[in-house]
Symmetry: C2
């Protein structure tokens, strides 16, 4: 089995925003589906892990793209595992157009947990090592994200369509709620950007989640989601270039 | 060009609910993308219409399925135009598994409008006639939907990720908000079902939409979305068999 997985997707009318460009949550969606297929085909996908009461948890994600492709365009997403530590693995991505032009990269950090104890599980000796691969990924690793000043806020309740197979707010839906929190003028921008998110806490069905955002510079926005008990659920930074 | 269009989709991890089955809004999404591709390939897609300030508006939709397929399964959606009147066209669908087993059908009714006046446009002489095709679609046409008694209600605001290319609540997102309105136990059910929706009014960015639902029999649920001015935005009926 090849170390690099490739997933090709066409961008459909119901995946684009009112400016005809694919939305950020759907880019994340395609990226996560690419990761899922790669892991699954190599024996360590979520369904295979579930048989041993284990699952993958996405911890951090950074995406840099020249812009968001339009409806009708093709996105070829490459993914490979860059490294493996005891509790974390780094998975990278390269985005290409249908013609093979590179339009961006992404870096992600994942942990494996026991679905009953919710504790981390060692990643060593699970057959992941043999797929470690070195390939260029010229973007910064996900770093620390400053908490936004909590000036502008709103809220949402976690509903049925937000849920993943583990009955938690799914990783792409965090991003959908983040894009819905920011002013629409921010999401309309289509210059090259970096999107970075730190997933901190799981959100459950029925939970009310508070959203906060601030504009930290003319080209940088910070967003956070927090839970009823005040714990941060995630922090996010979007920077336009 | 063939009269029948076929669109094959794989069901990805981020398209399923916590029971591992594709959600209803994503079934609608795939159905609408199938319709969009069919129309586009034959010269009367949304982007082609936009050049003449016209667009398609989905008026009614009825879907009957034996159940919702699981993650990893394949859905082959066939679509064809059953008939054409001055102001409306009927487009049908047949759902098959990857192995060609028929698992359901859908019927939809569409109008074409002028994007500036918002008035209907005649469908005659636009090159659609030549694609009219007769094929079995053994489900009832979309009928009149009773308004639910307005007992249980909640609300949502139309946000960025709700919007279609015309900056209105997109047709699949109506369905997502409907599934989020009903108790989660209803959406968990996976017996054969009929889903029927009547789209009445467009919903705009920032609008607050009220949702109402009622259980009309042990196997039937009615849902309605209404706008701030009290006008109904859509009515919907879900029946389990």
């Amino acid at each position: 089995m090849e170390k690099v997985g490739i997933h090709t997707v066409s961008i459909h009318p119901f995946e684009v925003d009112f400016k005809n460009r694919i939305t950020l949550p759907l880019i994340v969606n395609h990226l996560l589906n690419t990761a899922g297929r790669h892991a699954n085909e190599r024996g360590f996908g979520i369904q295979q892990l579930n048989e041993h009461n284990h699952t993958w948890v996405l911890s951090r994600l950074a995406i840099e793209l020249n812009g968001r492709p339009e409806c009708g365009e093709t996105l070829r997403i490459h993914t490979w595992i860059e490294g493996l530590m005891r509790s974390f693995t780094q998975r990278n991505f390269r985005f290409e157009t249908g013609e093979g032009e590179v339009i961006g990269y992404a870096r992600s950090i994942w942990a494996m947990i026991d679905t009953e104890t919710r504790h981390p599980v060692s990643l060593i000796g699970q057959g992941i090592e043999e797929y470690i691969h070195q390939m260029d990924c010229p973007i910064e690793k996900p770093g620390k994200i400053t908490l936004p000043e909590q000036t502008t806020q709103s809220s949402f309740d976690v509903t049925y369509s937000d849920l993943d197979i583990n009955k938690h707010l799914n990783s792409a839906k965090y991003v959908e709620h983040i894009t819905d929190t920011l002013p629409i003028e921010v999401m309309e921008r289509n210059s090259p950007f970096r999107f970075e998110i730190e997933y901190i806490e799981e959100c459950h069905y029925g939970e009310r989640i508070q959203t906060f955002w601030t504009q930290s510079t003319s080209d940088e926005y910070l967003v956070a989601l927090s839970k009823g008990d005040g714990k941060m659920a995630c922090k996010c930074k979007i920077t336009f270039k």
